[in-house]
């Protein structure tokens, strides 16, 4: 099953840089054939919201919904089931400082 991991942080936090090193996690998940792709994301202040109304493209600077939580990155993972996805997410370094949403794909492709 494929899942989208949304890696979120809840405002600024303090951490030793070594604790935030995501490379060991990436290495493990690639070696296990779990992580398909992913990336860090620029902050919400760099976001543009796009809507279409009566054929007009309407743009807004910044995210549509302002929340304290920021999506800092995402990963697409392919796991046997939710238990494995939970294990993968819990090993991500940001899980200790922020939170990770694990969202299943709508359907298998």
């Amino acid at each position: 099953m494929k899942y989208l991991m949304l890696v979120c942080v809840d405002g600024p936090f303090e951490a030793d840089p070594s604790e935030l090193d995501v490379q060991p996690w990436l290495d493990e998940m690639h070696a296990r054939g779990i992580r398909l792709t992913g990336n860090r994301l620029r902050p919400a202040s760099d976001a543009t919201t796009v809507r279409v109304s009566d054929g007009d493209v309407l743009l807004t600077d910044g995210p549509y919904v302002e929340t304290k939580e920021q999506i800092g990155g995402f990963d697409i993972i392919d796991c046997a089931n939710l238990d494995e996805a939970i294990e993968v997410a819990s090993k991500h370094p940001i899980a200790k400082f922020g939170m990770i949403d694990v969202r299943p794909y709508w359907a298998e492709d």
Binding site: M1, Y3, A85, I86, P104
Partner: protein, 420 residues
């Protein structure tokens, strides 16, 4: 097939429902992966039994008959919908599903998988409890709604969402692997104990509904301890529930007020059930792997075994509370330990522990903290301070029966002060 009167047929169906519902649903979930289909087909099988058994007699093995009937029904429904390409995967399962040579005895007990899946921590606790009652115990949505004082619609939505999450989020239908087992077993035990306490608490729902919940919790506890014979905490929980439930008849007075343990009529306690609970506990304790349920059951056993309140082994109970505080530290456990210590070593020893707890501020706003303090002060003859603490407890007490009890004590303490 045996000839049967209407009454024996009805009894056979009721028994089969209690014994076989969870097994049939669990088996069909494993075979089809579809929770709604599993429940509907189990329902259909019982409806068919209601129709056929009075005419044809009760089958020799009602469980096998019902499972086969439900399985055939599922097979029919999958065949009919299997024309779509997307359903071909399900059609592949039909071989196993349709194999009549596979009898009930060949199936592993799928109810254990079902328990773990219902109690998966990715579901809310409310949903875990509701799913357990629906799929394992076979309560209807309306019955579960009645037990938790929500509308049938709300409960239906809760069950619907939970089943869909299991399916779409990929919650596996399995007994978890060894590295997850301890944590997930705790979750299952917590759900069963919550179920029991919902039924045991004197608030909410009718008596009938509450008794149904405690009975189902005990029944599922028996099942779990049979299916996990190497898990002493499963037996510990079963023993705990049996021991508490054995005192049910003495717990409430004619007005429905709680009777404190020391004032309960011990002749009203269910002795055979107490003996069963103690025997189960002793077998569990021999495994030398104590846990919170075994220790709580041991405390309940101390109370149950005492011929009267005065002969209760409070030193043993105080020790057990120390053990419980080590396994599951928390202010409520500490308060209970203080009460036991006061009974074993005198009120002053208990008061020291209560005062430490008060200073920690952990139970601020909890009426039993000043109420306990008041009782200890009263026993020490410090009536002024006792009256003050009773007033504090009265201000915090949530329900009328507790308030009546505290008011009586306050009146006594005030009288003692005035009479000095």
């Amino acid at each position: 097939m045996t000839d049967a009167t209407g009454e024996t047929v009805n009894a056979a169906i009721t028994t089969a429902y209690a014994q076989e519902w969870g097994r049939i649903v669990a088996t069909l979930i494993r075979l089809t992966g579809d929770w709604d289909l599993a429940e509907e087909c189990a329902q259909d099988a019982f409806a068919t039994a209601l129709e056929r058994w009075p005419r044809d007699g009760v089958p020799e093995r009602p469980g096998a008959w019902l499972t086969t009937t439900a399985r055939n029904r599922a097979l029919d429904r999958i065949r009919r919908s299997a024309t779509e390409a997307s359903k071909l995967k399900e059609a592949a399962r039909m071989a196993e599903l349709g194999d009549d040579r596979v009898t009930l005895d060949d199936f592993p007990d799928d109810r254990l998988r079902l328990m773990f899946t219902c109690c998966h921590p990715a579901l809310t606790l409310d949903a875990q409890v509701a799913l357990t009652l629906r799929t394992l115990a076979g309560l209807t949505t309306a019955e579960i709604a009645g037990a938790f004082l929500v509308s049938e619609h709300t409960m239906g939505q809760r069950l619907f969402r939970a089943k869909h999450k299991i399916r779409h989020a990929g919650i596996p239908f399995r007994v978890p692997p060894a590295h997850l087992l301890p944590e997930r077993t705790s979750a299952v035990l917590a759900v069963l104990y919550l179920l029991f306490n919902e039924g045991y608490a004197a608030s909410g729902g009718t008596d009938l509904v509450r008794q149904r919940l405690t009975a189902e919790a005990i029944r599922l506890g028996r099942l779990l301890s049979t299916l996990m014979p190497d898990e002493p905490e499963a037996s510990g929980l079963l023993a705990l529930m049996l021991l508490h439930d054995a005192r049910r008849a003495g717990r409430l007075d004619a007005h429905g007020d709680l009777v404190p343990l020391e004032d309960q009529d011990r002749a009203s306690w269910d002795r055979p059930q107490i003996e069963e609970g103690i025997a189960i506990l002793e077998r569990a304790l021999r495994r030398q792997s104590p846990g919170i349920y075994q220790v709580q059951a041991a405390i309940a056993a101390c109370h149950a075994e005492a011929p009267d309140a005065a002969q209760t082994d409070w030193s043993e109970i105080a020790l057990l509370y120390s053990e419980l505080a080590r396994l599951a530290p928390g202010p409520i456990v500490e308060l209970n330990r203080a009460v036991a210590v006061a009974m074993a070593d005198g009120p002053l020893a208990g008061l020291d522990l209560v005062d430490a707890l008060t200073q920690s501020g952990q139970l601020a706003g909890y009426h039993l903290l000043p109420a306990t303090r008041a009782d200890l002060l009263r026993r020490l003859g410090r009536h002024d301070e006792a009256a003050h603490a009773y007033r504090e407890a009265l201000d915090l007490a949530p329900a009328e029966p507790q308030r009546r009890y505290l008011q009586r004590r306050l009146t006594d303490a005030t009288a003692a002060t005035d009479g000095r």
